[in-house]
């Protein structure tokens, strides 16, 4: 990477005291000095107003009194223990995931003979400082002990989860399975285990069984059969357990607030990725019909705003399904968001596919790999690696776009505002306070994601060098 700045570096690293620093950075020449003189009073005034707003005049009781509403909206209050459990299980899942990922990176480094640089606890805090600051803000606004207890529980669960680093290397995949399983469990603690929810768990466990049992020593085909049998067995066992387990929950049509925003974004991200991958491969396919279909879909979707698709979900999808099937408005919204994002993901992935030199394809074909295997083992790993930062950018964009659900009357994090300001005390006041609080919430998550994407970009570039 060549980081060339346009301006010739005017000064050497200032070695003098603060006065030298001020002179070189704020008053190096006449034009710059004029700029500084003009900007300083503006900045001072803005800071003065901000301090007044945040610490003196602001009606922050709109947040303290409605904190639960912002977090979980109209979710039934007597079922709150489910969300509390969910947060703790999620923390456990993240702990296991982080530990497993760190351990596998250490393994990779050792294998390559590179020195292992321990990442300090502080550097992790620094990476996610915006989210941590938002959580601290929530704790500051809290007027009951519950959030503090949840926080303590979550930290303990995260610490417990990070014990996963001691899982021996042979069973590393068990760590990943455990992490994903905990994620699914966290969802089902609130949503319940009824209906088709056993399928998600079955898929996770089957994949876990497939990758855990390697049957080393058994040759070729037979190992595949054994692994398949293990996966099927895991799925069947899951099904049987779920049939015994009657654990009804609170369906997501009753969710709202920040809780809903986070889950809706997560689902839209998870669903849009495979769809987008399929679309990208179809658009690059040698079958002209597939190419036309994919191109048509992608261009159509990219030409219209998300809200039109949400309208389709809201007003039309009901007509397009047989009478009696009536998916909840949240299901319809998630479908619309996933279908919309898939088109953008497809274009990003296509960019990645096009960036792979043709020699890779030729080499794979020369080795006699069939097309499917070539894609899976040669092309896609390189293409997807190259586009991870762009994909994260797209996922930030879905997260931000989840605020559009407000327009179709779903009370997510931004939409909760209408409930808050329906209260007699806040009918005409404190609109700015509410919106600033909501903006800080969105910002904390989106900023953390964008920082992660920049970090990945730097790391990937370093890897390629």
């Amino acid at each position: 990477m060549t980081a060339s700045t346009l301006e010739p570096s005017p000064v050497q690293a200032p070695v003098g005291g603060p006065l030298t620093w001020v002179r070189s950075r704020l008053f190096p020449n006449l034009r710059s000095s004029i700029l500084t003189v003009l900007l300083t009073p503006l900045l001072a005034y803005a800071l003065y107003r901000a301090v007044l707003f945040f610490f003196v005049n602001g009606r922050w009781d709109v947040v303290t009194r409605n904190l639960t509403l912002f977090m979980q909206g109209t979710y039934p209050r007597d079922q709150q223990w489910r969300i509390v459990t969910q947060i703790i299980v999620l923390a456990f899942a993240f702990g296991v995931g982080a530990a497993t990922s760190a351990a596998s990176q250490v393994d990779a480094a050792r294998e390559a003979g590179l020195p292992v640089v321990k990442q300090g606890f502080l550097s992790v805090l620094k990476r996610f400082w915006s989210v941590i600051a938002f959580v601290l803000l929530l704790l500051y606004f809290a007027n009951t002990a519950t959030p503090w207890l949840v926080m303590g529980g979550a930290i303990a669960a995260f610490a417990l989860g990070s014990l996963a680093r001691f899982i021996p290397r042979r069973f590393r995949s068990v760590g990943w399975t455990l992490s994903v399983l905990a994620l699914v469990a966290a969802f089902q603690v609130v949503a319940g285990t009824v209906g088709y929810s056993w399928m998600i768990t079955a898929v996770v466990l089957a994949a876990g069984a497939w990758s855990a049992f390697k049957f080393e020593g058994v040759e070729g085909r037979r190992a595949v059969v054994y692994r398949g049998l293990a996966a099927v067995a895991a799925a069947v066992v899951t099904y049987l357990v779920y049939m015994q387990l009657v654990f009804p929950g609170v369906g997501w049509d009753h969710w709202s607030g920040l809780h809903l925003t986070l889950w809706v974004s997560a689902f839209a991200i998870v669903l849009s990725f495979p769809l987008g991958l399929i679309l990208a491969l179809a658009r690059r396919s040698s079958f002209p019909v597939l190419r036309w279909l994919a191109t048509g879909y992608i261009e159509l979707i990219r030409g219209v705003p998300l809200i039109t698709l949400l309208f389709m979900g809201q007003y039309i999808l009901g007509f397009m399904l047989p009478q009696g099937t009536d998916p909840s408005s949240i299901t319809r919204a998630i479908t619309a968001m996933a279908l919309f994002t898939a088109a953008y993901v497809a274009e990003i992935v296509r960019g990645g596919l096009q960036s792979i030199p043709h020699g890779q394809t030729e080499a794979a074909l020369a080795l006699g790999l069939p097309t499917g295997k070539m894609m899976r083992m040669i092309i896609l790993p390189q293409a997807l690696r190259a586009v991870i930062p762009a994909l994260v950018g797209q996922f930030i964009s879905i997260f931000k776009d989840s605020s559009l659900l407000e327009i179709i009357a779903i009370d997510e994090f931004l939409g909760v505002r209408s409930l808050v300001h329906a209260q007699a005390d806040f009918r005409v006041v404190a609109h700015a306070e509410t919106l600033v609080f909501v903006a800080i919430g969105y910002w904390a998550f989106a900023y953390a994601m964008s920082r992660e994407s920049q970090r990945l970009e730097v790391r990937l570039r370093a890897g390629r060098k």
């Binding site: 700029l35 900045l43 079958f287 006041v429």
Partner: protein, 401 residues
């Protein structure tokens, strides 16, 4: 090229690439067709059950609702006129938003590269803040916290800022509408319009002439001065000759202070949408500008130092022309995003096409046709913008000699 002799033993059908290709494509078509047929079949059944028709005849029926700030539109106006009003308002918010985003983004993008520590840090903070919050939050903030429940009084107690020494009002500020000076025709508007057109054409001709002259003889062209001069001269002469076809219309409140009677009134919905999207998109524009300036090779700058160009000359003739070539495609993409984002106005009730479609569906107009019209409108805007992108791209391509 010689083709090898086809082998006599043909592979079995299921391994024959030619067969597989055709079969795969047919299968894809059949699957897509079946899905579509299922969805549309359900749609037809359900529409039949509810006795809704698929035609667009509803476009001629009265809308049955009033649009705020559109006095010439009444509940008896047909739905197609509502669509036109929506398209016009979408385009208006889009154009003003793009202008704001462009100017602000350029300033902030260059500011981020400034030597001045304060300017660079402020620009960086702006970009990092606005890039990471949803545009809808910004729009809603403007509509509710700045205008509706903000510091400005309602129209009854509107602030009237006088123009010094004339007894006229220059500006009316309220939380719902602002009044600014506008233009009023006193007749002869058509003739003035024609002469304005002539002026523009004449200016363009003069521009080309000066450019050619400069290319042929190397004389300094001064084409900006020449064209502006011609333009202004024709406009002034025709304005005077036609006896002042346009006069300034000063803003004024009506007797009962319920509305702004004269002048040009801007409603808060428009300001919220255009202003908020302008601020939001400016953060993206700034990043594009910064990235493109950084992408110009450092050697170009060194070369301009070697030629002893001034700072201004270096930017104007060396760096910016090359940066623009890189920046234009993503910038036009941002313009398209901004136009699509005007649909977020549905949350604050500014009467653009999405808001009006939602209201009209709520009033019982058939949803399928309404949403189809909505999508076609946005696709039209997208096509228009990509057409512009293609033309600009062709013009910006490097001309190699």
């Amino acid at each position: 090229m010689t083709t090898p002799e086809p082998s006599t033993s043909r592979p079995p059908l299921w391994r024959d690439v030619r067969v597989l290709r055709v079969a795969g494509q047919v299968a894809a078509v059949v699957v897509v067709f079946l899905i579509l047929q299922w969805l549309i079949g359900n749609l037809v059944t359900n529409y039949g059950r509810l006795n809704i028709s698929f035609d667009f005849g509803f476009l001629n029926q009265p809308t049955q609702f009033q649009i705020a700030n559109h006095p010439q539109f009444n509940p008896r106006s047909p739905v197609w006129r509502m669509v036109l009003v929506g398209v016009k308002n979408t385009a208006l918010a889009g154009v003003f938003g793009i202008a704001l985003a462009g100017v602000l983004g350029l300033i902030i993008g260059i500011g981020r590269l400034s030597q001045n520590w304060l300017a660079a840090k402020l620009s960086a903070a702006y970009v990092e803040f606005f890039r990471n919050i949803p545009p809808l939050v910004v729009i809603v903030f403007f509509a509710f916290a700045v205008f509706l429940y903000g510091p400005l009084p309602n129209l009854r107690q509107a602030i009237e800022i006088p123009l010094f020494g004339t007894g006229r009002t220059a500006l009316i500020l309220s939380n719902a509408e602002w009044g600014v000076p506008g233009m009023r025709s006193t007749g002869n508007l058509l003739a003035f319009g024609v002469s304005a057109l002539v002026a523009v054409v004449a200016a363009a001709v003069v521009w080309r002439w000066r450019t050619r002259l400069n290319e042929r003889s190397g004389e300094p062209h001064h084409r900006v001065l020449w064209s502006l001069g011609v333009l202004l001269a024709i406009l002034v002469v025709s304005y005077v000759a036609l006896g002042g076809p346009l006069v300034i219309d000063w803003p004024q409140l009506s007797e009962n202070r319920r509305r702004i009677a004269s002048g040009f009134s801007i409603n808060s919905g428009f300001m919220s949408v255009a202003g908020a999207l302008g601020l939001y998109t400016a953060s993206h524009v700034a990043e594009i500008i910064r990235g493109s300036i950084l992408a110009v090779p450092w050697g170009q700058t060194e070369a301009s130092f070697a030629l002893a160009l001034t700072n201004f000359q270096r930017y104007r003739f060396v760096v910016l022309p090359q940066a623009m070539r890189i920046a234009v495609p993503p910038l036009i993409n941002q313009a398209l995003n901004l136009i699509k984002n005007t649909s977020l106005a549905a949350a604050v009730g500014y009467a653009e096409i999405t808001t009006l479609t939602q209201t009209s569906i709520g009033n019982g107009r058939p949803a399928v046709q309404s949403v189809v019209i909505l999508m076609v409108v946005y696709l039209g805007f997208s096509l228009l913008v990509s057409l512009i992108l293609n033309i600009v791209n062709r013009r910006l391509q490097l001309v190699t000699r």
